[in-house]
Symmetry: C2
Subunit: 645 residues, 2 copies
Amino acid sequence: MMAAWMAHCGINARIVDKRSTKIFSGQADGLQMRSLEIFDSLGFADRAWKEANHMIEICMWNPGEDGVIRRSDRIPDVPVGLSRFQQIVLHQGRIERFFLDNIKKYSKDSIHVERAVLPESLQISEELCGNHSADNYPLTVQLRHLTDDEATPAQSNGSTVRDGLFRSNLAEDDTDDLIAKGREKQGSTEIVRAKYMVGCDGAHSWTRRQLGFKLEGEPTDFIWGVLDIIPITDFPDIRMRCAVHSASSGSLMVIPRENKLVRLYIQLTEIKPDSSGRADRSKITPTTIIEAAQRIIAPYSLTYEYCDWWTAYQIGQRVGTNFDYKDRVFLAGDAVHTHSPKAGQGMNVSMQDAYNLGWKIGLVVKGVAQPSILKTYQSERRRVAQDLIDFDHKFSRLFSGRPAKDVLDETGVSMADFKDAFLKGNLFASGLSVNYGASMLVAKPGDPAAQGDGTDLSSSAKVLSLVAKEDLATAIKLGMRMPSFKVLNQSDARPWHLQERLKSDGRFRLIVFAGNVHAPAQSARLNAFCAQLAASAFLRPYLYAHVAVLTVHAAKRTETELLRDFPDVLHPFSKETGWDYESVFVDDESYHEGFGDAYTNYGVGKETGCVVVTRPDQYVGFVGALDGEAGWEGVDRYFRGVFVG
Amino acid sequence: MMAAWMAHCGINARIVDKRSTKIFSGQADGLQMRSLEIFDSLGFADRAWKEANHMIEICMWNPGEDGVIRRSDRIPDVPVGLSRFQQIVLHQGRIERFFLDNIKKYSKDSIHVERAVLPESLQISEELCGNHSADNYPLTVQLRHLTDDEATPAQSNGSTVRDGLFRSNLAEDDTDDLIAKGREKQGSTEIVRAKYMVGCDGAHSWTRRQLGFKLEGEPTDFIWGVLDIIPITDFPDIRMRCAVHSASSGSLMVIPRENKLVRLYIQLTEIKPDSSGRADRSKITPTTIIEAAQRIIAPYSLTYEYCDWWTAYQIGQRVGTNFDYKDRVFLAGDAVHTHSPKAGQGMNVSMQDAYNLGWKIGLVVKGVAQPSILKTYQSERRRVAQDLIDFDHKFSRLFSGRPAKDVLDETGVSMADFKDAFLKGNLFASGLSVNYGASMLVAKPGDPAAQGDGTDLSSSAKVLSLVAKEDLATAIKLGMRMPSFKVLNQSDARPWHLQERLKSDGRFRLIVFAGNVHAPAQSARLNAFCAQLAASAFLRPYLYAHVAVLTVHAAKRTETELLRDFPDVLHPFSKETGWDYESVFVDDESYHEGFGDAYTNYGVGKETGCVVVTRPDQYVGFVGALDGEAGWEGVDRYFRGVFVG
């Protein structure tokens, strides 16, 4: 994801991986709605959507009074109406493939994942860190190139079935081993000088260790196994996402996947951590895992002929003490938060860390944005990680607990509580409830430190005096991702989800809700706003290159003309290509795809309109009026807090 | 398209092209709804849909009483509700790319377009033609391999802008030249022995000439130019499909395209054919064409900085006397029908020719289908070509004619007639009104010869005694493509357009509308039908391999169980992969994508149900009851008329 941002922003970057290949099976698989929206903004959600299994419904199976499991409930897998995507499942190898293709395309073949390469030293010039000028490289990293053999971990027991134990938290990290082995050879190192570095190097993060930062939290005694199989079974809901609580044999989760595969998460109640706190992984095999599953799912039968991958892990929740070092070295993903995989959060939240950070680094490297925006990474994402860990702590205990026999059974888990947690959890797990706190990037009232993870953002004080007018757009929430409804291109009547026009190209968007442009008062407001926009000494140089302008009006499409009814700044003219026909949209009925009713759904008045600023990651930074103090002046002040003057 | 079918059917095939490269710009661009449905069945409609410009609305511009053009009407570009696709525009080069990728994938890299190769002799062993047994190759073709230089035609005037004049009907054919040039060299030929051959070699078809078949019809005096430009204009509807009739300067059509391009079809009223009947193409340049456009579109301005491609053509309609020679050599596309390009029919109807033919050849080569089905190619497609020529004849004259000044102006074209023709023409042009006549493949009453192009299909007489019961599915029409509505997979609740399950894999579909399976009478009917299906000595060997079975039931999804409520033959068990979860669907509401209401939309009763047979190209071959004479017996008789016993 970081490399994709660098490619989309045109930044010179390198990416190294100590492993010699991409993932070919197993590992993560669930893609949440927000991740698909992000993929779409990068240009490849359609590939994932087409290949993946789509999860639609969750079935809950619990013991009846006779102790035999039965289906007790069905709920939609994700809340209805939140996004144009739903949750899908596809193995991580394909997702890596989409990223690799996307990076290649957008970097014009200049950024490649360099495999079997790992860092062995990091030096930081403390005095250079504070100076973000162009020719300043505070970081010096020594990279070591491994042979393929060195970089390929052995599989358990010499089996031909791939397993993921070498990446599991039941395994020791092999980074130091790899570095030591590599050092026995000559001439296989190089020195890289860098402005910024991001460690996306997993739970055992070498980068985190160099910085001396910690993961805080505790493991539990719960051990789970994972099997990717083509199941042969008479269990009726094997193609649904299922949560199965047996009376006394533990729990099981069914995740139906692509190509007839099903992933089973199976509680291994017979395996316990030893006195060191870690379970003996030699006792865990596909056979022990499927036998545990058979006990849970009885009286239904469950076997398989084909196993694609398997692993096991010990549940625990930990979060990093720090996500950045002096705005120069950053940590993302498992390097700063680890938890159980069952809520499908690991890959998603990790990608979203990098999605939050990439454009900020991109704009600072280009000299467009003030370096202080980099502080919002920890403030925004460490808070998300803390929320995630709290969610997973609660969720995984409900999942691993024994079902309560009745209301008096206090050590058991109430199945009503479990269902309730699932329903609430679905919104959190979708990634769409993320709400970033006040900063120079989010013109929201309140205390930035309290709304974030406690990080001091005092440098953004001047922006916080901004009066954002959220009541002008009651369904557009500052700090949350811009919701999406269908609008039509004024020039060709084609329907688009507005979000499709918020591509991840590193640009902010100034979205002008022009309202009913045939009302004289509204037209006058629009013209006055556009005159200020076109004349702005500060913002004008950033327009289009770093701030794209989108207009959504609410007059009838067929009574409206692009060239007659909208100031030029909203659809600029080019000598080579004529007028811009791709920036003005209308909230009107389509011939073939219904009516988005965007003004109603966004809560924007057609006789007032408003302006909205979205960040390059689609989160809402500012909402203002077309006129008055919170209008043009607000937009101007927002960007003065972000861009270099 | 033929090569794609061969790849999808696993047939050993070769494809040669006398040109040295694929198309990179210009040529055809419009993709009709039916073509997109076909692309989807092959697996790449999504790529075209994503890259293309979508045409949504047609604007009509006509002279007012003052003689100045103004917008007189807007109509939707395609009829609403007919298909899940609409008309899009994308240049032929991209479409060729999608085909090349698809052929490579499905042929496992064994079929490639062999470029700069052309046939120079064709020998047909007359006595072998009638014997379709496996080791019989009646055709002998000598192929000549050209150098790149030989195969690349010169561009006009040494310009760097690509033009298509060398492919236009204003140019002479160069095939004989190429063959003669190639003969001067040694060792560049090879002999191919073939069972079947299809000439998709254009209006000057070498194959057609070898067979001695003719194109019948006449050219007109109307000459049109084509420009692919990025327009610089104040014409308000430049991103709409427009038909512009000027008072006395001729007509112009606007086709907005991808990447800011617009294609303009421009009537060249000042250029006339000479006494030979052909216009002097040296007089036609991008400058003369844009100047003609400027006269038509005045008082609006129209210029360009970038021209991607241009060409010119003379309007005429011709159709081939024969489409096949002894069921061994076939002609498709421009080789058997030529007409004006403005209705966007050329590429679409030509691809649909091959789409009609490919699976038939595939099944005959495999020894699955009776060779007599090959006769339906000419019967079905020559009739379509005749209808197309009639349509184009009328449409192009309305387009090229001068607008009538008033109702008394009898030599002018009434703009009301023109709009009416456009509305009716849109259904024809969508490709969705094609209605194949009675044959062994379409169990329809009536005279096969009269419903087709006159071809004798008497070998299908035994099938014509079939009593198809169209009243059981009032919106499913014998001979037309199966309509599509959304249904849910019973096993995982995922919504699918039913058409998405009719992939082009060479298989017929037996679609069982099981109705309300909880009604005892309905369940009994279903069970009886399935028992006959499972026990059939004739059809059982073809089941699944050549006839996929899809079930759509109408009980509540959540009250229905796949393994309990449906006979095994509808979801067969495999020792390796368990039960089939991908064949039983339900007409019920979805969580996220509305309600397809398929039974209502198909006109099928929930307390009767029915069975429908679709051909491998999605056309409806048979409709019958679940019980009675037109039930199982009808299905059995249909397939006895098609498959080898």
